[in-house]
């Protein structure tokens, strides 16, 4: 086998090929994206906040509504498409990324979104998730992580902390949980972010960057399940604790957190990773100019991965939030369409004529 020049397309935005509203059309509002279906999540569910944020954010894209498709799998969050006035499919458990791959690959003019949960994406659909990420199909995957199975009424999930007492694990769960961001980075995702259901501004900012990214944008959303796992994310939500709990990732900024930025990240030469230190000018503190500056665009994902490891695997007290990684790599769907265009450019005649030549080709003989 030899390497082939794939004629890589120039970097373009995630929605560049999706038709925009015609000029002069009145601007869309959240209402334009609200379907007539009654929303049926439990009172207090974090899904409401995300739905509102998405409905409020979609008008910002300025796209034709009919060119937006939401695909989901199975789980509480997967009811999402029913509530959006776009095209949508509520599919089967774990398979949304594969269905979205077919949609995105067959149609350049669609903005494709996947809504999934921790069970849907990381358990039954784990295989499809990692392959969507490595292929870098142009779509945005919103993973609502509530660290529990809600729709089946409260079993532990692949992101639940070890030892979790649930209906299926009365003596505590045994499995080590996935860190979704680490997993996505390991699968060579080109856009990896984490945000929180209740922080609408941050959530909207991340969605905006995700939509603009061409390729598979992976967004983990910490989402509270008030029924089966209430308070799982209190540490990052409570005004009292969140400054200490959230490690904010801002492109080009030193990674500092804690009250008055008293803590920060530096490279750890002992492990090759990163570590948390006290920042300041005292002798036992690290000087502010030594603090790691966040670079999501680094071609090497090592640092992003190291940062993702600062997320608590057990009960959550600390988590980096923001865009871990955003790099440009050709997308599967663009390349697939390019190959078709390339093949079509190399032939002449109508499809019918070519069909005739194809089926009548090879070694033929004529019976008169």
């Amino acid at each position: 086998m030899s390497d082939t020049d794939l004629g890589l397309p120039a970097v373009r935005s995630g929605i560049e090929l999706v038709p925009s509203l015609e000029e002069g059309t009145p601007p869309q509002t959240g209402k334009d994206f609200t379907s007539d279906q009654e929303v049926r999540w439990c009172p207090g569910c974090g899904d409401y906040a995300v739905l509102k944020a998405v409905q409020g954010f979609l008008p910002d894209l300025g796209l034709r509504r009919e060119n937006i498709v939401f695909v989901s799998g199975i789980g509480c969050s997967s009811r999402f498409p029913y509530y959006l006035e776009t095209y949508g499919m509520h599919s089967i458990h774990g398979r949304a990324p594969s269905i979205a791959t077919g949609i995105a690959t067959s149609r350049a003019d669609l903005s494709v979104w996947v809504v999934t949960g921790d069970g849907d994406a990381l358990s039954i659909g784990g295989n499809h998730l990692i392959h969507a990420l490595r292929r870098n199909v142009n779509m945005t995957i919103l993973l609502f992580n509530n660290r529990i199975y809600g729709l089946t009424k409260g079993q532990y999930s692949p992101t639940s902390e070890t030892g979790k007492i649930t209906k299926s694990t009365p003596m505590g769960s045994l499995d080590h949980p996935f860190n979704p961001v680490s997993l996505a980075l390991g699968a060579e995702a080109t856009f990896v972010a984490r945000t929180i259901d209740s922080d609408r501004k941050h959530l909207t900012g991340v969605l905006s960057a995700a939509a603009a990214h061409r390729g598979t944008s992976f967004v983990e959303i910490y989402q509270n399940c008030p029924i089966f796992n209430d308070g799982a994310f209190d540490a990052v939500k409570s005004p009292v604790t969140r400054d200490e709990a959230i490690i904010p990732l801002v492109q080009g900024e030193p990674i500092r957190f804690g009250t008055d930025g008293s803590r920060g990240l530096i490279r750890d030469s002992a492990t090759g990773g990163v570590k948390i230190v006290d920042v300041g000018d005292e002798p036992d503190q690290v000087s502010p100019d030594k603090v790691l500056v966040h670079d999501a665009h680094s071609p090497d994902a090592t640092t992003a991965f190291a940062i993702s490891r600062l997320t608590d695997a057990g009960r959550l007290h600390q988590a980096p939030i923001g865009i871990f990684r955003q790099v440009s790599r050709p997308t599967y769907d663009d390349l697939a369409r390019d190959q078709i265009a390339q093949a079509a450019a190399g032939v002449t005649g109508s499809k019918s004529e070519r069909l005739g030549a194809l089926i009548g080709g090879g070694d033929t003989w004529t019976v008169a």
Binding site: P81, Y87, H90, I92, T101, G102, L110, W365
Partner: protein, 640 residues
């Protein structure tokens, strides 16, 4: 020396050797030569699942059987008239299939103590009396090949590899095959390696010349071209014909094709073939698994492509839930199952038709899926187009059941004129279909009254934004509904929609020449050839029997019930334990009898004739004697 030329009406040759000996290529070339000569033909490749099983062993034997004739034939033949065996294992593995008097051409080169032991021979069969009932030509094919190509300076190993072409040359002489196409083929195939190219051509010619000059062969044979309907012909395998049918379906419907597939024997060739034809707007997606393959195809169908997934039985098992999603969302989708021996991994390279009930019922809930089946390699083209017509017209997943025998077997195929191909209209929805003016809405489950098909509105169509999914739909508006009466109605409606397809089917062709038959043989899929050949034998012996072969397994044609009633006995031969028979007995309360073998090989015409004969004897109260019709070509019988 002038040699005698003897005329035969048909011959069955089996080329057998080690999997690395190039027997498939040899058989394929002989087939192409016969096709170009104008014989009717039918082929049966038979190879192990292992890519290279240990050399010289029985599991490593690969064979290719070709049946060619001066008349219309239906099967690759029950038993070879000629066996070409390239080593002891190939001889031992195939000897049991040979009738007495058959010809054996054997390469003696590998008949060493070591290779004889590997093949399980205690003594050299060429040196004892064990082959006395056959006409054996024991020749050092390898040695003669090495001698013939020595001028090209190849290593002995490379030189010996051309022995298959020596054998092909010899057999081509023996049966008067034209040589030009094979020489042209070798020149193309090895264009980049001139010494290998020249060696193969030289070996091929040397084989031919050896036949011409040696005294070993005193006669050569002639099989005249078969009369066939006028037209342009080519030799085609089922997988190739199926691939062309899919491309044709894309062209005829004006839809881009999206194939989502995961490699699996014996279906992978369809993925390979479609991957070559991107210029037709064909996207091929090699997915991470079977489920993703069909998932992506469903996504593409939702977006307005013709979604297709190809697999074999184990893959269907994995796709079942997704097929259910396509049933519920009522999207056009083609699911192609090239059946192989099962259960589980089963016999990956062997044929079987035991997935019929899986196709019918292998999903949760009441989940009706139309099923079509091709009857011969060339017929895979038409079957693909018919499956696409149904999928698009009725907005439904359609299962196409091919099998290993059809996939790899070949036959002459009359290339259809483009004007003969059906036009298929996707008829996308473009307007709201409920209410007027400002209140106008799009209801995705408002059905066409005649077909019961729902509208297909694809993303990008303004005003028709809608959501579909696996949850039960409310009639018409398509919103989630848990209403008991609605579910009952929707289950019945989905079943009725599939039943409606029968209204679009032509009447069944009943082959009952004089209308006097009391026995009907009913079949489906690749058993068409063997059943037809068996029926011919019975008729030739002077008895009556009728034949009907089903293209549509679901829904069954509306006239089938009446036809079944006209016969006293119904025989259903299948390469399973009676799956169609089960459906027919349940549906029509007919006491159908099965004839069943699951040997991984096609049914044999002679055995079928006997089974039919027994039923005829029963039904007509006569003695049935088929002995005059069961002999072999060389000794006089035929398959007419």
């Amino acid at each position: 020396m002038s040699k005698q030329v003897k005329r035969l009406d048909r011959v069955i040759i089996r080329f057998a050797g080690d999997s690395g000996d190039g027997m498939q290529l040899t058989g394929d070339r002989f087939t192409q030569e016969s096709a170009a000569f104008g014989n009717d033909l039918s082929t049966l490749p038979n190879f192990p699942a292992e890519i290279r099983a240990p050399q010289g062993t029985l599991p490593g034997v690969s064979s290719f059987q070709v049946h060619f004739a001066d008349h219309d034939i239906l099967t690759p033949g029950d038993a070879p008239d000629v066996l070409v065996a390239m080593n002891p294992a190939a001889l031992r593995a195939n000897l049991g299939d040979l009738p007495k008097g058959a010809t054996i051409v054997v390469d003696t080169h590998d008949f060493t103590a070591r290779n004889l032991t590997k093949a399980g021979y205690a003594d050299n069969p060429l040196e004892d009396e064990s082959l006395s009932e056959y006409a054996v030509h024991a020749l050092d094919l390898t040695g003669m090949t090495v001698e013939a190509v020595k001028e090209f300076g190849l290593s002995r190993k490379d030189a010996a590899r051309a022995k298959n072409m020596f054998a092909l040359g010899l057999l081509s002489w023996l049966y008067g095959r034209p040589t030009e196409s094979t020489i042209a083929f070798l020149q193309r195939r090895f264009a980049k390696v001139p010494d290998i190219r020249d060696a193969n051509v030289a070996a091929y010619r040397a084989g031919w010349n050896f036949g011409e000059t040696t005294e070993t062969f005193v006669v050569s044979y002639e099989v005249k071209p078969a009369p066939m309907p006028t037209g342009t012909y080519r030799n085609i395998t089922g997988n190739l014909a199926l691939s062309y049918g899919l491309i044709a379906g894309g062209v005829q419907s004006g839809l881009p094709i999206f194939l989502g597939s995961y490699p699996i024997t014996p279906a992978s060739d369809i993925l390979h073939e479609l991957s070559k034809h991107k210029s037709f707007g064909v996207t091929t997606f090699q997915a991470e698994d079977e489920i993703a393959g069909i998932g992506a195809a469903i996504g593409a169908s939702f977006s307005g492509s013709l979604g297709i997934t190809t697999t074999s039985g184990p893959g269907i098992a994995l796709k079942s839930e997704s097929i259910g999603l396509a049933v519920m969302t009522e999207l056009p989708l083609l699911v192609i199952d090239v059946q192989r021996g099962g259960p589980s991994t089963g016999l990956p390279t062997k044929t079987e038709q035991a997935d019929l009930l899986q196709a019918m019922f292998g999903r949760n809930g009441e989940s009706p899926v139309p099923i079509v089946a091709p009857r011969s390699p060339g017929d895979c083209f038409d079957a693909a187009l018919e499956a696409i017509r149904i999928a698009i017209t009725y907005r439904t997943p359609v299962m196409l059941l091919s099998d290993g025998m059809l996939a790899n077997g070949s036959e002459p195929w009359r290339v259809p004129e483009l004007a003969e191909l059906p036009e298929i209209d996707p008829a996308f929805a473009t307007e709201p279909n409920q209410g007027d003016g400002d209140d106008a809405e799009f209801w995705p489950y408002l059905r066409d009254e005649q077909t019961l098909a729902r509208p297909w509105a694809i993303p990008g169509t303004p005003g028709l934004e809608h959501r579909i999914g696996g949850l039960e739909k409310g009639d018409g508006h398509g919103n989630i509904s848990y209403d008991p009466a609605n579910h009952d109605f929707m289950v019945r409606t989905r079943a009725a929609k599939v039943e409606r397809i029968a209204e679009s089917l032509p009447p069944l062709e009943v082959d009952d020449p004089d209308g006097n038959a009391k026995v009907l043989v009913l079949g489906w899929g690749s058993t068409y050839g063997p059943i037809g050949a068996g029926v011919r034998r019975v008729r030739k012996a002077g008895y009556h029997v009728a034949q009907v072969h089903l293209r549509h397994l679901n829904p069954l044609p509306r006239d089938l019930g009446d036809i079944l009633e006209r016969y006293d006995k119904v025989l259903i031969p299948e390469m399973n334990l009676g799956q169609l028979a089960l459906l027919i007995r349940a549906r029509y309360l007919v006491d159908a009898v099965g004839y069943n073998h699951v040997r991984g090989l096609p049914l044999k015409a002679a055995e079928l004739a006997e089974a039919i004969g027994n039923l005829v004897a029963d039904a007509e109260g006569v003695e049935v004697d088929l002995s005059a019709t069961t002999a072999h070509a060389i000794t006089g019988g035929d398959e007419r």
